[in-house]
């Protein structure tokens, strides 16, 4: 099975379209969306309905902190995110709001665990940015492969037979063999708001038959998304951040 893994769409229609079209040429059998469909971006309603359609066709989807915050005001967000979310709430209809509220925090597919932020505290929205932050995720479950998002920067960590967790370089565009001698945690780059210095949308493809993972980047029309953000009156730093990939 070839599984396309996407996360942090953040209401960026152009980026999501570009990723889906790239994935469309790569024999994908199933989609997995790791949360944060909305927040920050100018096209929440389009993105939610696109993901709803994917889920209707068999995709799996988990909830991110921005998705949870739509109907749960207790989820803490920074100032800019808060403003964008207040704007987002008015754009979504009741069905879309309840779709987001009803998303599960984790999903399991065979030996794969999907979660937005961390496996050890899915609702705590921890940022897995280092080996020490990843260690608890390996400890709480026995999934061989853990995929998450939330950080907006791709990252690759492993836990070997001795329980040592290591942080590795992330090769782009080439298949990485996920050796069965260790467990793997991949933090995927964001579809809709990359922060690793490249504005191109990120996603990944897991091939369970060949047991490898490929991190991919797809360029999209960032200028259009930035223009829409500005036209909607959303905070200017959001547009600048998209253009710079920071």
């Amino acid at each position: 099975m070839r599984l396309a893994l996407m996360t942090d769409i953040h209401a960026n229609r152009e980026a999501l379209e570009a990723v889906l079209s790239d994935a469309g040429r790569r024999d994908i059998d199933k989609f997995a969306i790791l949360g944060d469909l909305v927040g920050y971006g100018p096209d929440p309603e389009w993105c939610v309905s696109r993901v709803q359609a994917l889920v209707g066709a068999g995709a799996v989807c988990v909830q991110g902190n921005h998705d949870a915050a739509v109907s749960d005001p207790s989820v803490s967000l920074n100032g800019v995110a808060r403003k964008a979310l207040d704007w987002t709430r008015q754009r979504l209809d009741a069905a879309q709001t309840s779709f987001l509220a009803a998303l599960p925090l984790t999903q399991t597919l065979g030996d794969v665990l999907l979660v937005h932020a961390s496996a050890n505290d899915p609702a705590g929205w921890i940022y897995v940015t280092s080996a020490s932050r990843a260690m608890p995720s390996f400890r709480v479950c026995d999934a061989r492969l853990i995929f998450c998002g939330h950080v907006h920067r791709p990252q690759l960590l492993t836990c070997d037979a001795r329980g040592d967790v290591r942080d590795h370089n992330v090769p782009m565009g080439a298949p990485i063999p996920l050796l069965r001698s260790r467990r793997w945690l991949a933090v995927l780059g964001a579809v809709g708001q990359p922060r690793d210095g490249s504005p191109a949308a990120g996603y990944a493809v897991l091939d369970t038959a060949t047991n490898d993972l490929t991190f991919r980047r797809v360029s999209y029309d960032v200028a259009t998304t930035a223009r829409k953000l500005r036209a909607a009156g959303l905070p200017e730093p959001l547009a600048e951040r998209l253009l710079a990939g920071k």
């Binding site: 492993t158 063999p177 069965r180």
Partner: protein, 472 residues
């Protein structure tokens, strides 16, 4: 953790273990057979101890990741990879020949043999680097030969693949490698520089030529550090038969700062194949070991060095130092074309300032019969062509070490150009094409054959067509 330990007669995934062939520090190697594979094969299993076996396992994981991705004659073909949960193993084809250890035991070898072995290893190493892999543990024990003499590298447990996560990057606090051959930057924990392999190659050529290791046999890490300031005894002091040019090649490969070494195995190979044109510097002429004062000065400079400038990415490193071959036609009627070719090379050198330029001219010899060695005026043809090439290239304004001149003799100029390109790992061929004539269209031109068959990029330069091209 693995459940099964290897023993003779063990059956696993259709393979039957034969006798134990080798017991190394980290792994055992067994002869193995399989009803579906007629090929002679070996099975390698890491020695799993019950205690802390981290290094063994990680090295084996690295091999399991990298080896199945390698192709070509210079690596063993991988047949199967075993599951860690049952018994980790790697089945590869069995390479008939022994390692080069025995050969190195007979060193010093006569110079022509040293050059031949060095060239074969360098050529194979370049082929490996082109597959995005840096070996990082090159030594005679890890080099085998096939029945036909082809060089094969084994043991990729410390290697680094440019497009895979480096499982070893954070694994150990001490540098990994084999002390006599390890490069200074590798000692300083760098694992991403192909020039570390060039250093190890230099150490091996030194050994073949002198019978001695350039830095002795350090047993402790602290002793390895000395190569940051202590220069090896000049090879010619140990073996006066070594020519200055070969010492130049060896000591350049062994430079402490990777930026001063050959930038790729292909560049080292190129010098081995063009000895007359190696520019001899102080390195080649050096006859004495450093004085205490000189040694002290270098120690003072190097003792605090924690690293060298990082290398560019691996593909960039290979591309950065390309070999540009220019096939120059020196006949008077194509002077305009030769000028245009010169301009194209000049332009290319602007964007590739590290390129080496190999200027080539072909003397078309008769297929049968005796060839003329002198022309009608009594000039030696080969020599006059060389002079012509040098005159043509004077316009490039390149230093001696960056340009070479070769006059090839062959009944078929296309074959001569193609052979030279393949033999020297040329990255790009530039050549002129004469106009369009009916004969040329009918018989096929040299340039079209080179374009069709060259192992690299080819740029064909033409003079702008006149409105009414009439053939002379």
């Amino acid at each position: 953790m693995p459940l099964i330990r290897p023993t003779e007669g063990l059956q696993i995934d259709g393979f039957t273990l034969g006798p134990l062939l080798h017991r190394g520090g980290f792994a055992t190697v067994w002869e193995v057979t399989h009803p579906d594979h007629a090929l002679p094969m070996i099975l390698k299993v890491p020695t799993i101890l019950d205690g802390d076996d981290g290094p063994t396992i990680v090295g084996f994981e690295v091999e399991q990741m990298i080896m199945p991705r390698l192709t070509g004659p210079h690596v063993p073909k991988v047949i199967a990879v075993g599951d860690f949960a049952v018994m980790p193993y790697l089945v590869t084809e069995r390479i008939a020949g022994a390692s080069l250890l025995a050969l190195f035991g007979t060193a010093p070898l006569p110079v022509p043999q040293v050059v031949d072995w060095a060239a074969r290893i360098a050529s194979a190493l370049h082929a490996l680097h082109r597959q995005h892999v840096i070996h990082l543990d090159l030594k005679p024990d890890n080099i085998l030969t096939r029945a036909d003499g082809t060089i094969v590298f084994i043991d990729f447990g410390l290697s680094r693949h440019d497009r895979l996560p480096d499982l070893l990057a954070e694994e150990f606090s001490i540098p990994m490698g084999t002390f006599p051959y390890i490069a200074p930057e590798q000692y300083l924990r760098r694992r991403d520089d192909l020039r570390s392999d060039v250093f190890a190659l230099g150490a091996m050529i030194y050994e073949l030529a002198t019978g001695k290791l350039p830095f002795g046999k350090p047993e402790r890490l602290k002793q390895v550090r000395r190569r940051l300031w202590r220069r090896p005894v000049p090879p010619r002091k140990l073996n006066p038969e070594i020519p200055e040019w070969l010492q130049e090649v060896i000591l350049r490969a062994l430079e402490v700062d990777p930026a001063k070494r050959y930038q790729s195995a292909a560049q080292l190979l190129f010098d081995l194949q063009h000895p007359v044109q190696v520019e001899i510097t102080e390195r080649g002429r050096r006859t004495e070991t450093d004085s205490t004062l000189a040694l002290f000065r270098r120690w003072r400079k190097m003792r605090r060095v924690r690293g060298f400038a990082p290398p560019p990415g691996l593909p960039a490193q290979i591309d950065k130092a390309p070999i540009l071959m220019v096939a120059v036609d020196l006949s008077p009627e194509t002077e305009g074309l030769a000028d245009r070719l010169l301009m194209s090379v000049q332009r290319m050198l602007v964007i590739q300032p590290d390129a080496r330029v190999a200027c080539v001219n072909v003397i078309k010899t008769a297929r049968l019969g005796i060839d003329q060695v002198v022309d009608d005026a009594g000039n030696h043809i080969h020599v006059s062509r060389l002079v012509g090439l040098r005159t043509w290239a004077a316009g490039l304004d390149l230093t001696e070490e960056r340009v070479t001149f070769s006059v090839l003799e062959n009944p078929d100029p296309g074959t001569a150009i193609l052979d030279y390109a393949a033999h020297n790992h040329v990255d790009h061929i530039l050549m002129g094409a004469r106009g369009h004539s009916t004969t040329r269209r009918f018989l096929g031109s040299v340039s079209s054959r080179v374009v069709a068959e060259a192992p690299c990029s080819v740029t064909v330069i033409r003079l702008p067509q006149l409105e009414d091209p009439t053939e002379a």
